[in-house]
Symmetry: C2
Subunit: 251 residues, 2 copies
């Protein structure tokens, strides 16, 4: 038996999220079916970032076990062959130790969120960005974001369906910048792990500050309330992409 680490990219538009479901088509199912077509083995993929419907992935990481003797280039190319025409792709397949776990060994995860700030709706980037019809105050959003860095109770940004034991999380990074060429505000965030909908809830609330509906004090109070009802709306899924996951160098 060999354990394989897969780096996977997918367009979230075509899937009901990462996780296999009975009556909907998921990225997990597309990949597991392609692995079966290649190997004849029914595997279960374990993934670092279990993304929601419509959320994209640039470099998510999953692992699986195969009895078949093969090599990484063959796994990558053969699985990709059987994945067509679905918009999911194995960027790399690497043999790892049997102790490696894509989800539990992850030291950090990062996400990016794109907000298109202009009147005209997106044509080329439809399904990839959140369309807000006005400019956002990036400097104000940065000041608010700085409040979130560090170890805090993130209940204000935690979806009610969240199954985590604790609302405490440590946010390592939340950078925000304006991409003038694309008329986009981009948010990049990193943490060991995130609560359910945490990124989208942070973005939706920061957009209230950027749009001038909320002051910095409003934001600070909402965060301190540790209550989801105090937070802003959940930003739409399509603007979000799972970006990268980090492991110890030994993994």
């Amino acid at each position: 038996m060999t354990r394989w680490k897969l780096i996977v990219e997918y367009d979230g538009s075509g899937f009901s999220g990462w996780q296999r479901q009975a009556h909907a088509f998921s990225a997990q199912q597309a990949l597991e079916d392609a692995v079966f077509a290649f190997s004849g083995e029914r595997v279960t993929l374990h993934v670092a970032g279990r993304t929601d419907t419509g959320v994209h992935a640039r470099a998510n990481v999953a692992h699986m076990d195969l009895e078949k003797k093969t090599d990484g280039e063959t796994v990558r190319d053969a699985v990709n062959y059987h994945l067509r025409p679905h918009h999911v792709s194995v960027l790399a397949a690497e043999e790892v130790s049997e102790e490696f776990h894509a989800r539990f060994d992850a030291r950090w995860r990062s996400y990016r969120y794109r907000i298109l700030c202009r009147r005209a709706p997106p044509a080329l980037e439809a399904g990839r960005v959140w369309h807000v019809r006005k400019a956002l105050d990036v400097e104000a959003m940065r000041e608010a974001a700085a409040i979130l860095i560090g170890h805090h109770d993130f209940s204000t940004f935690r979806a009610s369906a969240c199954q985590a034991n604790s609302p405490m999380r440590t946010l390592d990074q939340l950078d925000i910048w304006l991409d003038e060429e694309r008329e986009e505000v981009v948010l990049a965030t990193r943490a060991r792990s995130f609560l359910y909908h945490q990124v989208r809830n942070m973005v939706g609330t920061l957009a209230l500050v950027g749009g001038g509906q909320w002051t910095l004090d409003d934001f600070r109070e909402a965060f301190a309330a540790c209550d989801r009802r105090a937070g802003g709306p959940t930003a739409p899924a399509q603007g979000l992409a799972f970006w990268e996951v980090g492991y110890d160098s030994s993994a």
Copy 2:
């Protein structure tokens, strides 16, 4: 009567090119239908870049005449409202002089072409890039591209269906660079006008040099032959985007 200049963005995947056709859905038809829904007027749009099926547009320019008295923001927003759910968007609408012609007044047009260079097929950028499975030698491609700059006979890169009077064109720019993060080779080119399929034929032939199948001398000879049969293949439509068009500042 008012003449309107429209800047339009579209995803070429959903259209049989720019130009209205009897039995296929074009970007021109989507826009003209939306203008009719807004104004009740049947207009004909004249465009700077008549793109092929699958070719995208970031900022193409078209003009039309309307009897209706209105303003630019209303034109933009109302046409966009009626364009849904098609992936075409009016970025700006501006009143111009009745002498302005989007096609004949264009002083230069620019295009970009994206080549994804990696084994794994594109998932997030499917339909936006040409997928070649190996790295390309960008330096060699640049040397070949330099040969094309200036006033030349471009017959080697001219599709047989081209209706231009002359194969002579002046190529002002053909920059090529590697976007390492995206694993893409990007080509940016600019000229007053291009022959039919000229950009895609130049890219397909430059890729032969980048891939090592052709030497710089092979490329030079093919260009000097002034014969389409001497050139390389036509690069696929989906990697190409009409980028920008320039007018005199008075237009």
